[in-house]
């Protein structure tokens, strides 16, 4: 096991120099992102396959079988109308799910300490996990888009809105997943929010219908659901129709992203859930 002192000497002298923190941060960020991406690929059976099967079933049942009997919605066939919502639903749940499971897993297995003792600042750790969440959201969103194209054609009204809406939504839900993971003390608590909060909000967020079908009071209630704005902004990018003001939707998405990012950094700085 022994190695001669002289062989180790050079390296010790090199490390006595003050590290260039910009380079440390650049390489550190890339390492976190690559680690997250490799995790997504390594457990593809859990990360990519289930949403692909779910989306296929939605398109078969709601798009092809039931959708034909429903007729048009907002001037488009039902399957075309729900397609953007289904893609966005998979992006939201997977961005959230990636960060909540990865960060909580790191907490549970204590390997989050690898990052906490490193010189990387907390904002960069948040950015790294967030990018991992975005990566999974986009990969799964891409897979669901390909499945969509097997069932229907996708109109593109404004590609910039499509890309920006999907990016902002995945940022928001990646960060929300991180907050869930920070506070979670056991595995039940990382499935509680997705099951009892995220899924109902997604289903009631205009994925499958226009809220104009709802009674007036339910429309008002729906406007309190942030996912409604994301789904509609994304749908606007494809179809050019929306239940909400797209400018307001961007304001909400950008505002939520900023507030959640700052919250994550503050939580890590305070050591909530991760430091004594």
């Amino acid at each position: 096991m022994s190695q001669s002192s002289s062989e180790l000497q050079t390296a010790v002298h090199q490390s006595a120099e003050t590290p260039e923190l910009g380079r440390v941060n650049r390489i550190g960020y890339r390492t976190i992102v690559l680690r997250e991406f490799h995790r997504i690929v390594r457990i593809w059976g859990q990360t990519i396959v289930p949403p692909a099967i779910t989306a296929t079933l939605y398109f078969i049942i709601f798009g092809s079988l039931i959708g034909r009997r429903i007729g048009d919605m907002a001037g488009y066939s039902y399957i075309q109308y729900i397609a953007p919502g289904l893609i966005m639903m998979s992006v939201i749940t997977n961005s959230y799910g990636n960060v909540v499971s990865s960060f909580f897993g790191a907490k549970f297995g204590k390997h989050i300490e690898e990052l906490l003792v490193s010189p990387l600042p907390n904002w960069l750790i948040v950015a790294g996990y967030m990018t991992g969440g975005i990566a999974r959201g986009l990969v799964v969103g891409g897979v669901v888009t390909v499945i969509t194209l097997l069932f229907t054609k996708l109109h593109i009204y404004n590609v910039g809105i499509v890309i920006s809406a999907v990016l902002l939504s995945s940022i928001v839900f990646s960060l929300a997943g991180m907050i869930n993971a920070v506070f979670a003390k056991n595995f039940d608590q990382i499935s509680f929010i997705p099951t009892f909060v995220l899924t109902p909000l997604t289903y009631l967020g205009g994925v499958f219908y226009t809220i104009q079908l709802l009674p007036q009071w339910a429309q008002h209630v729906s406007h309190g659901n942030p996912i409604l704005y994301m789904v509609n902004a994304f749908r606007f990018g494809f179809l050019g129709v929306s239940d909400v003001d797209v400018g307001l939707a961007y304001g909400i998405m950008i505002g939520a992203a900023v507030v959640l990012f700052v919250s994550c950094v503050v939580l890590l700085n305070r050591g909530v859930g991760i430091r004594e």
Binding site: E7, P19, L34
Partner: protein, 312 residues
């Protein structure tokens, strides 16, 4: 230069437990330093504060002159930590764990690959480089944590019970490796419950108990403070009762063994003379415990109560 400096360091947990009660400590660059104490004494809290896993309540901490309140990133880049508990990702391979660790410290991938080979070879883990970490034995996991802590070649290596649960052969080889790392210029702080390990490896020792430093000196000076030592004499022939040795505390655990407590003012020649006069033939002799352990027990006491005797 001071590799590590604590000034009036305190830590009070939310439940009111005062883990550190204003400790002062200095570790010189290049030292091999033992930080000892019973369970719950505050060792891991102190290490946690240095590595920013625990937030301090008050006081000052510097690592190679970098205050952790003002230059945390630079201070952290100087430290390599081998924690008490296994804390790497059990689903990743040995290589992935080490390359990621290097990345978190800004080490380019090419340099990291060279170091990976160097440290895995030195720690006899090279053959396991593609193994998933959960498949490693306990001793291999401990060595992997040492390799991981060395990937950014830190100036200060903190080893929190690095040999816990490893067999004697592996432990001895780890000692040799740690000595080599220290000889190459890396300052090492070691906490361990194997006091033989600390006595063999370390040049300075601090003993912490109930959040206070109760001993802090060169190892050799600390050991000289031991007022008495207990020696075990193995006898050639059985004896019926313990011999009368005025001035000595003598115990007879069995008819072939005597345990005699010898103070600093007394000498072994006198004991041998008296035993010979009593017709008792000694086959061999050894210390009952290693000297640091004896001192430690006298300082900390059986219930962790400090006693005045050992301070001398």
């Amino acid at each position: 230069m001071k590799a590590l400096l604590f000034e009036k360091l305190t830590k009070t947990y939310k439940n009111g437990v005062q883990a550190l009660k204003g400790i002062d400590l200095e570790v010189e660059e290049g030292d091999f330093f033992a930080l000892l104490g019973p369970n719950g004494a505050g060792k891991t809290t102190a290490i946690g504060i240095v590595t920013s896993l625990v937030n301090k309540t008050s006081g000052k901490v510097e690592v190679f002159g970098h205050d952790i309140d003002r230059e945390l990133a630079i201070a952290k880049s100087c430290i390599g930590l081998v924690p008490q508990e296994i804390n790497f990702n059990q689903f990743e391979t040995v290589t992935t764990i080490l390359l990621n660790q290097a990345g978190f410290y800004g080490i380019p991938r090419r340099v990291a690959r060279d170091r990976l080979e160097k440290y895995l070879t030195a720690l006899q883990l090279w053959e396991k480089r593609n193994a998933v970490s959960r498949t490693l034995s306990g001793g291999m996991k401990r060595r992997l944590m040492i390799a991981r802590a060395l990937m950014h070649e830190p100036r200060l290596l903190i080893l929190d019970e690095p040999t816990a649960g490893v067999d004697i052969e592996v432990r001895r080889s780890m000692w040799t490796f740690m000595r080599d790392i220290n000889n190459a210029g890396t300052t090492i702080i070691l906490t361990t419950h194997y006091l033989e390990e600390a006595e063999n490896l370390c040049r300075h020792v601090a003993i912490i108990d109930k959040g206070r430093i109760i001993e802090n000196d060169r190892m050799s000076r600390v050991l000289r403070k031991l007022q008495t030592e207990t020696f075990v004499f193995n006898l050639r022939n059985p004896i019926a009762s313990a011999p009368e040795l005025p001035g000595y505390n003598v115990a007879m655990p069995d008819d072939h063994t005597l345990e005699i407590e010898v103070s600093k003012e007394q000498n072994l020649n006198d004991i041998f003379s008296r035993l010979s006069a009593a017709g008792i033939e000694v086959l061999s002799m050894r210390n009952k415990t290693n000297r640091l352990e004896e001192l430690f027990m006298r300082l900390v006491g059986p219930q962790g109560e400090p006693t005045a005797q050992a301070a001398g």
